[in-house]
Symmetry: C2
Subunit: 535 residues, 2 copies
């Protein structure tokens, strides 16, 4: 074979190999300017791989593109590539747990606005104990009289409640005073690099930290007076990052939220009513700022923790239907959440889940308003484990998308079903990495999915725990870790996220139109800026 | 849908999903007794997952099945599952670098038998310096007079050569004396957990340690008086572990081995001649012990480091042909080796590699004796990097197998080519994990390959560096990390490794027949032992 023949065969083989990629299948979708922007970003990526990622940084030995997010974040923030990605229109955020979305510093600030919020600890907080002490929050009624004024006094007894503000003001100067307090509480509400990459460095262990941080966050978020401000903060941050539509999962497992009086008495319909109010406010604000086109709306996926008894699930399914009737435009789906490796598999709930559709009809919901399943499945390293097997049930039960689907790449038949039926995977790169399903982005199976033509949407999952607010960080990690995926690939993924949402056909068309307009402005800016820099 | 209908659909979906697996495609191959043994091993695996892997062990916090090999090895050795796997007939070992096969303690013992072997260090060895000092070995002529008698004396000057034996005898008691010396040298010749999982914990960094340990080992192995004993040791250990045929890669990049006189004067044909001698001795020994059926033979894959200039490669290709003429039954293939991420891609050598076949014909090798390519390719986390792209060239150049092919799972077209043409991947699970392509076995892409019907053979790669002697450890890690793969899967893989070898058709038939006899004895023993235990 001549070299010429060889190279022609080689080009054909590579083309065949990549024929299922979204950026090949829809190759004609974007403008010439998009293509120019893609080339510019590839150049910047290559330059920064050398100038930023191949050199040593203080406190970050041996960095590399797509490295452990919590360690590399400070470097990411310095790159031009990230700066550009923050401006990209991201489309829909389809996998995010509402109660884990606002960064812990902001959440603490919100909590400090409410004198009723108290804190307790499992021991006196000292320089020796601070790393092992566990804390709890609780809103207490106005008449409560604290027995101690500081967590740091030798007289502090485990479990004594202290008003949050006072605990902060009285925090030991040796521990950094109020600033030390803020750092400490924030670290309890999120996962830090030492935990993810040293002390809890595997998928089994890291869930311990996940659970404790999530539980702690929940006690603040599910306090009704914080709930509104919390949702508002989440919307604002997410929209600023270029997300134009949100499907947030709300964990409805607690049947009541805590009211201003400290009692568990706020029912689900109130939560949703507040959600709807805030959504209205956000729309109003954006209109007033002339930013209508940045946001088309938000919906809720009703979720229940998968530790409930199958019989108990019936209550939730009925409740979900009731909420759908009250908020038909808000309830977008139903899901079960929590660590699939140890909690109940979908299989345990088959009788309930198989009759959900009949139940909806019997309760008067017309078929076109039925609540679809949007199941978590395969968020695991297991091979044939019950978490891995959830993928079979999710698809057999007709899931519209798959939350994570990390282990899907092991399943050739399921991959082709997803491809043929257009069942998108909600892939959460940074979440997967911090929960130690993958050690870094270059190890992540996303390129396998993309090359096999399995539809994907990128998501952030639990940004308050992972510190990956918005979608810029996840898009960045994906872009940085590949030599094939480029800005156009991200563009295709972002645009299609709207198609994979639970919006109506008309809403999708409108949202896509708006997205495309923003995309054109975005790539135009990249090309202009690059031209200006080179002149 | 009724529950009954659902479960029937579910079973069908799982069957469809697994239809390409080797243990499904060849489901009828093994006896009923094999199936019983498979069930027994699944039971033991499940029991030990609870009784051994789910409990804490001294110095191994939070173990799990398929965990980091160097940390978990002591636990593996305690399991019944491993004990059984050591007795399994493994078939062919198809990917192993001959100069990195014998454990470092044994290699040191071999070196100590030769008074001409000297050692030097980059600094005086003290408790403070021992972790950072680098060493070298060299055979020196009998007349050499050392300037110092111990590496540990303050008078030791960097680079001074000391006879190895004397350096050992005079090793500082504070450093553990002779035992301390043995431990220290062994640690320089292999990769330890601290390096793999802490100091060099990523695929870029760990190659630094790999290179230094491999270079050091090479200076001993490529000393002709050690070579013979070294090969013999490798054969003996490997056969004892149940391997019945070996295709070892020899790095022929040094054009001469070092002779007893300390000169670089032993040509390639001498190396092969010694190899052939030892092979004959081994066959003789086994015959004498009545163990003929345990070993059918060994061949060599001629390898060159991929840093040589394309023009220089021509010398090696010619040399390889010459060796093939001298040792037609020994030379089984040609390959290029070394870190694909930084050394030359196959693409750089296209003119030479494309004309290799013509070159062989012109030098009188009949076509059926032509030397096949058996290329390393895709041993990388890159996505579209030059190492990843090597997969295209390896297949276009007609490689008979692929060394590693770690990134193949990203390539749908290449996966189907491998499946259709029967191009097996030489998968090296423990090597991949220690070189940080995967953080642990549950993260390894092997199940993706198996479920997609891509042929695989399990290999050990560099057992002296990774301490995974034989094939038992690699088979064990694969078995422990799955709930689907069982003893039958391992049996299919072991049996097929003979089919994917470069043996002739008749040799393959004979080797397979012998393997099957041993397999039956093996499963028979498992079933008998289990029956005896239960009565």
């Amino acid at each position: 074979m001549s070299l010429l023949e060889y190279h022609s065969k080689r080009a054909q083989l590579i083309a065949d190999d990549r024929a299922l990629r979204i950026d090949v299948v829809n190759g004609e979708r974007f403008s010439e300017k998009s293509r120019q922007a893609d080339v510019i970003l590839r150049r910047i990526r290559e330059e920064e791989a050398r100038s930023i990622w191949a050199v040593e940084h203080d406190e970050v030995p041996h960095p590399f593109p797509g490295m452990e997010f919590l360690t590399g974040k400070d470097i990411i923030l310095k790159t031009q590539l990230f700066n550009i990605i923050t401006k990209m229109p991201k489309g829909a955020l389809l996998h995010v747990h509402l109660d884990l979305t606002v960064n812990s510093t902001t959440l603490l600030a919100l909590a400090l606005q409410h004198p009723s919020i108290h804190i307790c600890a499992t021991a006196q907080v000292t320089p020796a104990s601070i790393k092992s002490v566990n804390i709890e929050f609780r809103p207490l009624p106005p008449g409560f009289v604290p027995q101690c004024i500081s967590l740091c006094l030798p007289t502090y007894k485990p479990g004594q409640w202290i008003p949050l503000r006072r605990a902060r003001e009285q925090f030991d100067a040796a521990l950094g005073g109020t600033e030390g307090f803020d750092r400490w509480v924030a670290s309890c509400l999120s996962i830090n690099p030492g935990e993810a990459y040293v002390t809890h460095n595997n998928n089994i262990r890291i869930w311990d930290k996940f659970r404790s941080a999530a539980r702690l966050t929940g006690t603040l978020v599910y306090f009704a007076p914080i709930w509104r401000a919390y949702i508002r903060q989440f919307f604002e941050d997410t929209i600023t990052d270029g997300v134009s539509y949100i499907e947030a999962r709300i964990n409805f497992s607690p049947k009541f939220m805590i009211g201003p009086d400290g009692e568990h008495n706020v029912p689900h319909k109130e939560w949703l009513s507040m959600f709807l109010d805030v959504l209205g406010e956000i729309h109003g604000d954006l209109r007033a700022q002339g930013r209508d086109d940045e946001f088309v709306g938000a919906k809720i996926i009703y979720t229940v923790i998968r530790n409930c008894e199958p019989e108990e699930l019936e209550w939730y399914l009925n409740d979900c239907i009731e909420m759908k009737k009250l908020f038909p435009d808000i309830i977008a789906g139903f899901d079960l959440v929590g660590d699939e490796n140890i909690l109940r598999p979908l299989k345990d709930y088959l009788p309930q889940l198989l009759s959900f559709s009949t139940l909806q009809s019997s309760q008067g919901l017309p078929e076109h308003h039925h609540i679809p399943f949007i199941f978590h499945a395969g968020e695991t390293l297991g091979d044939g484990s019950m978490a891995d097997d959830n993928l079979y049930d999710a698809l057999l039960l007709g899931t519209k998308r798959i939350g994570h689907g990390f282990s899907l790449v092991k399943h050739p038949k399921l991959m082709s079903i997803c491809r043929e039926r257009g069942v998108a995977l909600e892939v959460c790169p940074i979440s997967n990495e911090i929960l130690r399903l993958t050690a870094s982005m270059p190890m992540h199976p996303l390129p396998i999915l993309i090359n096999h033509g399995v539809p994907v949407a990128l998501s952030s999952d639990d940004p308050s725990l992972f510190q990956n607010m918005g979608l810029s960080f996840d898009f960045f990690q994906v872009l940085a870790a590949s030599d094939i995926t480029g800005l156009l690939t991200l563009g295709h993924i972002a645009r299609d996220s709207i198609q994979y949402s639970m919006l109506t056909l008309e809403e999708k068309a409108r949202a896509t139109f708006k997205w495309e307009e923003r995309w054109e402005r975005f790539v135009d800016e990249i090309v202009k800026f690059d031209g200006a820099q080179r002149n």
